[in-house]
Subunit: 229 residues, 2 copies
């Protein structure tokens, strides 16, 4: 009566297949010299507002585009379109994560010339569990937590923090209103992922965005210096 072992076996096959597609994507991105950033967080952490701000500011100096995942609605693509950057919505139906094949399919449909891009952003479905295991071929995975979610999220969702490269604490404009304890939050992130770089910023006021954008520029420059584009 216990179907778990079979379920795990089937899941392994799905993940293995995803890894193959992700590897092919990563090679394509690398060859085109585009730096790919994926964003994960719980629903309502402010991924879309953060991405809109990022696209709007980066567009002044770079060529940017974004893919955005959700179970339903085109709302995020509509919001992000305000940044004037090319944006494509991916709807996953009942799936709580993006898969590499969805990214590949969206790129195929949009026919974006990756050689003409500096940054490609991929906003995952809002979920702190499911996206952990799915490589999307990205260069950098950002995990966002908002100050309104509380300081203990890294301890409760260690896997997603471990699968991410950088953490971003958002909605700092609300920090005082919710009595957010920065030291506790930072300590919890470091407990789960020692040495993880953490940005704190507000997409609303723009506070802290500059450091983050400089970090992205530096990473792009580093990528370009190791790849012949």
């Amino acid at each position: 009566m216990n179907p778990e072992p079979r379920l795990i076996e089937v899941r392994k096959n799905v993940l293995k297949q995803n890894d193959m597609v992700a590897r092919a994507l990563r090679e394509r991105f690398r060859a085109a010299g585009v730096f790919v950033v994926s964003l994960v967080s719980s629903p309502g952490s402010g991924k879309t507002a953060f991405l809109e701000k990022t696209l709007t500011l980066l567009r002044q100096n770079f060529r940017v585009a974004a893919l955005v995942g959700d179970l339903a609605t085109e709302n995020d693509a509509v919001r992000l379109a305000r940044s004037q950057a090319p944006v494509k919505q991916i709807t996953t139906g009942t799936l709580c994560h993006l898969e590499a094949a969805m990214v590949a399919k969206a790129l195929e449909e949009e026919k974006w010339d990756l050689n003409q891009l500096d940054f490609l952003f991929v906003e995952n479905v809002g979920n702190l569990v499911c996206p952990s295991s799915y490589d999307l071929g990205e260069d950098l995975r950002l995990v966002l937590i908002s100050v309104t979610e509380g300081e203990d999220k890294p301890l409760k969702y260690p896997t997603i923090f471990n699968s991410a490269d950088v953490a971003v604490v958002t909605k700092t404009d609300l920090a005082d209103a919710v009595e957010f304890n920065w030291d506790a939050a930072y300590g919890n992130i470091q407990a789960v992922r020692p040495g993880m770089q953490v940005f704190r910023l507000s997409s609303k006021t723009g506070e802290g965005m500059e450091d983050y954008l400089q970090f992205l520029s530096a990473r792009l420059a580093k990528l370009r210096s190791t790849v012949s584009v």
Copy 2:
């Protein structure tokens, strides 16, 4: 190369088995005359603060207990213990939802006499996708959204709103700070689940808690009037 159909088939078996355990639980709860409420939401919506407030206030007149699910940590059980109510943590490892068998196992371990309880609360793992499909034998499923998450969550996560019985909008004390649009949020809930009852409250200030607690009392009275305890 496409393992989806097999995955779906195995998932169906898991769900079928869960439904059987949930049905047995529901019969036990019904026979004992305990009213069981489960809580679902995204991480950081304020489930635990809301539950702590609920337990603290209900304890004045009722016998209450709570089970609380998380991937990792006993943090929530520690927080909820401040309410003086019996609380048991369930850690799910990498699973993004509770299953009926976990509830059954926790009850077995704690050896709570269900006949001596009026309300049992079950706080699910923070996730707006995974818990949808898993019946836990509850009488009432509450879906929480906080004002800081934005008004569009019902449209983006329709399944979890459809699987819930009642919606609770939390953190109303922050509504002005985040320019929360109540009419839009209410409209989106009704668009997904017409007629759904919606409470709005702040666990911090206590605003709106009275209506919610009266609602629970009425539901318990109704349960008791249809069951011989």
